[in-house]
């Protein structure tokens, strides 16, 4: 069995476990609907720029909530099993893919629910979706890393957000620019450079997450 197969097997296991309880998906759905409703009651109408900032704030906090538990099962008794039978890089890659799927779900849900309450200002859907995909990928890598680190600590929810928020800032800054561009809110000819930088940052972080994860795992 090669490593790609093993990664998919791990991913399948995670997804099956998730669908058995629907705990995480349900809580995310509830989170999105409540927060969007609060935004609706507070603003009533949103201008494109405010819409954009609200969307990304909801997205980033939702994704932090969602990925917090990625490695919580790791600390219990099956960690010994994982440790002795699995390759750490395969394990972390499967987690990153799982979190990526999850964050994409959050992005879609947030977008959908927000569009129900406010008409969405996106005009270039291709640009917006690719930006949202890149953001989900980057945030999922960072959140996987920091949730693996935070699982070691005592009060891990607090550490998790403290660690991952500053790390996600550069990614979010570029993605917010891209999505503003997709709403025709700014005119910028350097979108392709932005994509290159974003891709570079994501690759760098992915590489170092895979490199560093084994050290976080040895407990």
């Amino acid at each position: 069995m090669n490593s790609v197969n093993r990664v998919f097997l791990l991913l399948k296991k995670d997804i099956t476990l998730e669908f058995r309880s629907l705990y995480a998906v349900g809580s995310i759905l509830l989170y999105v609907i409540t927060t969007v409703f609060i935004v609706y009651k507070a603003f009533n109408t949103l201008e494109p720029r405010t819409w954009n900032s609200m969307f990304w704030i909801l997205f980033i906090f939702g994704s932090m909530n969602a990925t917090l538990r990625s490695f919580s099962k790791m600390s219990s008794e099956n960690s010994l099993f994982n440790y002795s039978y699995l390759d750490p890089s395969e394990f972390v890659i499967s987690k990153i893919i799982f979190n990526l799927l999850f964050l994409l779900l959050i992005a879609v849900l947030t977008f959908g629910v927000m569009s129900v309450f406010f008409p969405h200002p996106v005009q270039d859907f291709k640009l917006f979706c690719s930006g949202a995909f890149m953001a989900s990928l980057g945030v999922s890598i960072i959140c996987s890393f920091s949730s693996a680190a935070a699982t070691q600590g005592a009060s891990n929810a607090a550490i998790m957000s403290v660690m991952s928020l500053p790390l996600t800032l550069p990614i979010l800054q570029i993605v917010i620019k891209i999505s503003l561009q997709s709403m025709n809110q700014m005119n910028d000819s350097t979108i392709s450079t932005d994509y290159m930088i974003l891709g570079g940052i994501i690759l760098l972080m992915l590489g170092f997450t895979i490199l560093l994860f084994p050290y976080l795992w040895k407990s």
């Binding site: 890393f145 920091s146 680190a149 070691q152 600590g153 005592a154 009060s155 607090a158 550490i159 403290v162 660690m163 928020l165 500053p166 790390l167 800032l169 550069p170 800054q173 910028d188 000819s189 350097t190 450079t193 930088i197 570079g200 940052i201 760098l204 972080m205 170092f208 997450t209 560093l212 050290y215 976080l216 040895k218 407990s219």
Partner: protein
């Protein structure tokens, strides 16, 4: 006292003493502080009051010339230059013709035998259509080729730049401390890598101490930059890309300290914080070295859109004599402070 062990502390003190003395005492080049009015009109007699800085007009024996430089070869010489005192001049430009249309601004040159040539760019040239100035035609000062008399005052002086003035000395502290901070962050990264390879409580303490001094230097860098911004740009904080990126970098490192305080188990803390430190360093590289260098980012910092820190023109040779020692001195001082911290931490560790 064992000199071999303490040489870097002595070097740090001596170098920083030199930086403080030279950086604060070496005078600025003679310059022009302001002119009143800052504009020149065609078809009128422009009487301009000039305020000099560090100048000695009265001691130049009337050998003061004022020129308005229009392009690289041509200019207008002022008539009736009156020296009021060492720092004040009055010059008259009777101009009875229109300025060339493609010249919205001109550069004012004040040349005196004693101070050399001082420069003030961006004097607005306005073409007025006032008809009473027609009488000036024929007896105004013509546009002539610039003579080959201009020189800068010899000796060790820092450049005089508009808006910056004396605050240019902050280069030795604000810019140098960022460089020193980056060096200390790299040292801490090396210790974290060693810690990951080979767990040892001393390397963990070393990495943590160097990181806390890195954060301290970063905060000082932001504070000195903020003060400088207040005098140069008028506000403590702007939406400048470098300010924001530096803040994010500091936040990433502050999270390191919080992470350390949150984990009780010593071995676990050492491993997790070392891994995070490597990750933080990697995340900092695009923040500081890539994003501010993008061609389209707006920054008020010099060297915009290219080298973010120091363009060739911005770092005068006179500044270099103090700037480079300042970096080395601050690095040595940082190592000293970190070593003190390492000793305190390891003693506390033994006590437990």
């Amino acid at each position: 006292m064992n000199l071999k062990k303490h040489w870097y502390k002595i070097a740090a003190v001596l170098i920083l003493l030199y930086v403080l003395v030279a950086g604060l005492l070496v005078p600025l080049k003679p310059g022009i502080y302001s002119t009143d009015p800052p504009i020149l009109r065609s078809y009128s007699v422009n009487k301009i009051a000039i305020e000099g800085y560090n100048t000695n007009y009265a001691q130049a024996d009337g050998n003061v010339e004022v020129w308005l430089k229009l392009d690289s070869i041509q200019g207008i010489k002022a008539e009736n230059v009156t020296v009021i005192d060492d720092n004040h001049l009055e010059a008259t430009f009777p101009i009875g013709y229109s300025f060339p249309e493609d010249r919205p601004t001109g550069t004012l040159l004040v040349h005196s035998a004693k101070d050399g040539t001082a420069v003030l760019p961006n004097r607005k040239l306005i073409n007025s259509t006032d008809s009473k100035g027609q009488s000036l035609i024929g007896r105004s000062t013509p546009i002539v080729a610039l003579p080959d008399i201009f020189f800068t005052k010899p000796g060790w002086q820092f450049p005089f730049r508009p808006f910056l003035h004396e605050t240019i000395r902050n280069t030795f502290f604000h810019v140098a401390i960022w460089m020193a901070m980056f060096f200390l962050a790299t040292v801490s990264l090396v210790y974290s890598l060693l810690e990951l390879r080979n767990h040892n409580y001393l390397t963990d303490i070393k990495a943590a101490s160097f990181t806390s001094i890195t954060i301290l230097y970063g905060l000082i860098g932001i504070a000195t930059g903020s003060l400088w911004a207040k005098t140069a740009w008028g506000v403590f904080w702007t939406a400048d890309i470098k300010l924001n990126m530096a803040t994010v970098a500091i936040l990433i490192y502050l999270a390191y300290l919080i992470l350390r305080s949150a984990i009780q188990d010593q071995d676990q803390r050492a491993r997790v914080s070392a891994a995070y430190n490597v990750f933080a360093y990697v995340a900092m590289i695009p923040l500081i070295f890539v994003i501010p260098r993008l061609p389209d980012t707006d920054s008020l910092h010099p060297g915009n859109g290219g080298n973010p820190a120091l363009g060739g023109e911005d770092l005068d040779n006179a500044l270099r004599y103090v700037f480079y020692p300042s970096i080395i001195g601050l690095i040595l001082l940082g190592i000293w402070i970190s070593n003190l911290r390492i000793r305190v931490e390891s003693l506390l560790n033994k006590e437990r």
